[in-house]
């Protein structure tokens, strides 16, 4: 087969170019400073790296906690086979968020300060702790995959016996973290445009994280069936699509009610700069995917689900960027567009994410072998299955 081979080399070349650019921009960032490497300013202390790399990075990692909660806590066994890729994505996502933070912080070597310097009144303090703790929990949730690969059975058993605790901690920390990114903006009632500032921001951020978690899982499964030649778990994706409909509908109604009660609804129909971005966001994140998924033919079909998922992702990325950038432009009286260096660094992180995911999928038991049932995290009947099947069930 020559065709996939050529494509593979092509993507390798693209990746190499991105990395070279990324390394150069890394040099600019750390040796020339933030001023030279970004378009950040006193008016825009937060830009693309916070708006996309951090805000969207965390959001796109939400599949990890959404799916572990569904499978491990609610015991929905149907979704077992797709938990591992979502944990991998979440773990990777959080590692990349940490890396991006090192670029964005003015004094990155002080990143550990929240460990010993406490200000519990600060949302950023909560965010810092959530990032640290949840990244650790994700590493633990991910560890069985590595341990299994190296056949370290004893360590595997130890980790698995605590897995319930990790899972509950993970869901708890994610809930706090996803919502706290919205809470960050609560202190800016006079700065953030009323389309986006709302006392419900934490709820919106949490609900949208669940929607994105589901959409991301659909997206990933579709991608990996395309590039790793895996069989598409269409029935599972259909179920996810239905859950997505419900979450999006809840989110949409809540956003509407919120605008209504805060008296902002008339602004939605008044042409303006913010209004255009708001409409774009709502169209992509709620109207288009909901509209598509409500058509049975689309909902049942792999391409239809994929399209709806991609729209959802784009919609909520727009939302996070609107909150971080568009929504404050009028208050600070200026416009922000990222500098090319900022864009290159962001693209580098995205490329790294794809590349590491690909490598992990190739070398680690991320996807279940066809037929063989791999327990996602916790092997519920370890003792029994080991007794019954001497060869380890997970291999």
């Amino acid at each position: 087969m020559t065709v996939p081979r050529i494509r593979f080399t092509f993507w390798k070349a693209v990746f190499a170019v991105i990395m070279v650019g990324g390394i150069y921009c890394t040099f600019l960032r750390f040796f020339r400073g933030l001023g030279a490497s970004t378009n950040l300013s006193d008016q825009f202390p937060w830009g693309l790296w916070i708006g996309f790399d951090v805000m969207c990075g965390v959001m796109l990692a939400a599949g990890g906690f959404t799916l572990t909660a569904a499978v491990e806590i609610f015991n929905i066994k149907r979704f077992h086979s797709i938990v591992r890729p979502t944990i991998l994505t979440a773990f990777l996502g959080y590692l990349l968020v940490c890396a991006a933070l090192m670029y964005d912080l003015g004094l990155p070597w002080n990143i550990w300060h929240p460990l010993i310097m406490r200000n519990p009144h600060s949302v950023m303090f909560e965010v810092a702790w959530c990032v640290m703790l949840y990244t650790t929990v994700l590493a633990l949730e991910f560890s069985p995959i590595v341990l299994e690969h190296f056949k370290l059975k004893r360590a595997l058993r130890v980790v698995r016996s605590f897995m319930v605790v990790f899972v509950i901690l993970g869901v708890l920390l994610s809930t706090l973290h996803q919502s706290s990114l919205g809470t960050l903006y609560l202190i800016m009632p006079n700065k953030l445009h009323p389309f986006w500032w709302s006392p419900l921001l934490p709820v919106f951020f949490f609900l949208s994280a669940i929607a994105v978690g589901l959409a991301m899982t659909i997206f990933e499964s579709s991608m990996s069936s395309k590039y790793f030649g895996r069989e598409l778990e269409l029935p599972i994706l259909r179920d996810l699509g239905r859950v997505l409909v419900v979450v999006l509908a809840l989110y949409g109604i809540l956003r509407f009610e919120d605008l209504l009660h805060r008296g902002v609804l008339k602004l939605v129909f008044t042409p303006g700069y913010e209004q255009r971005f708001f409409l774009l966001e709502i169209f992509l994140s709620v109207i288009a995917p909901l509209g598509l998924l409500l058509i049975p033919k689309v909902r049942e079909n792999a391409q239809g689900l994929y399209l709806a998922a991609v729209l959802t992702l784009l919609g909520f990325v727009t939302n996070r960027l609107n909150v971080t950038i568009t929504g404050v432009e009028i208050a600070v009286g200026g416009r922000y567009a990222p500098k090319w260096t900022e864009v290159v660094i962001t693209v580098m992180f995205v490329a790294l994410g794809f590349a590491i995911f690909g490598l992990a999928a190739k070398y680690l038991p991320i996807f279940p072998e066809e037929k063989a049932q791999i327990p996602a995290l916790r092997e519920p009947s370890t003792r029994f299955s080991e007794a019954a099947v001497p060869v380890h069930a997970g291999d």
Binding site: D42, A69, N75, L107, I111, H121, M124, V167, I168, F384
Partner: protein, 255 residues
């Protein structure tokens, strides 16, 4: 006793002595070029704005309940009991949440430095702690910038408006804005003509986030128990099935 600054624009002659004194006190460069810059920046903590024959100062308001200090994860910014909101660079990690949160857009950043810090007027924290007045108030030749106890200054401001209603807007900027500020302003023309926002909430901004944050300690045990409970309930059937299977296996003597 909390200190404050009362700036009365009607008494200001635009001499910019306060700018000069501020630069000297904080070791900032100052020359004609800097004097002409009518914006605050990383190297200029206060500025005197001119509009026709009217003047207005801009600087950190040193809020009573400052957003910047409340959002700082590491407590680098602090409201002291004397009034000044001070900054300790050795704690700062450069997240710039303070800049995003300040309702007046006060904190500035040293974007061009390799080891950047946040820069803003700190109401001469050191001097005030020593019982001195701020450098700007000390240097003001007309008394337009006056340092003193905030309560006394507030009374005085009210009296000035009362005695001379034609001379002033009936508004003491900083009396109630974002919960009150240590720096208060009087003017004869609207504050927003100098870029001050007059639509600010009277609520202290940190309350908006504290409302949510203060619930977290209660939320964690509740939500944790709920998750654990759901797990316990949903896995019960499975445990039963396993136990049965185990029993059968043992009875059958297969192993």
């Amino acid at each position: 006793m909390s200190k404050g600054i009362l700036y009365d624009a009607t008494m200001c002659i635009g001499c910019k002595q306060c700018e000069q004194a501020c630069a000297t006190e904080n070791g900032l460069p100052y020359d004609d070029k800097v004097a002409a810059q009518e914006v605050t920046s990383a190297h200029k903590y206060t500025t005197v704005l001119t509009k026709d024959d009217k003047f207005m100062r801009r600087m950190c308001m040193n809020c009573d309940d400052p957003a910047c200090a409340s959002v700082c994860p590491v407590g680098a910014l602090k409201k002291t009991s004397l009034g000044p909101v001070t900054y300790d660079k050795s704690r700062c990690m450069g997240c710039r949440y303070c800049m995003a949160a300040c309702p007046f857009g006060v904190p500035k950043y040293e974007w061009d430095k390799a080891v950047p810090g946040v820069r803003k007027c700190i109401m001469c924290g050191k001097r005030v702690a020593e019982g001195k007045q701020t450098a700007c108030a000390e240097s003001c030749p007309t008394g337009a910038t006056k340092f003193g106890d905030r309560d006394a200054l507030l009374e005085e401001a009210k009296k000035r408006i009362h005695d001379n209603p034609g001379n002033y807007l009936p508004h003491i900027f900083g009396e109630t804005e974002v919960g009150g500020t240590s720096v208060m302003l009087l003017s004869s023309i609207p504050f927003n003509s100098f870029g001050y926002r007059t639509d600010l909430t009277e609520r202290a901004l940190p309350m908006y986030t504290y409302q949510v944050l203060s619930r977290i300690p209660d939320f964690v045990p509740l939500f944790g128990t709920m998750l654990g409970g759901i797990y316990w309930i949903t896995h019960r059937r499975q445990d039963v099935a396993e136990a049965e299977a185990n029993e059968k296996g043992q009875k059958g003597g297969a192993q």
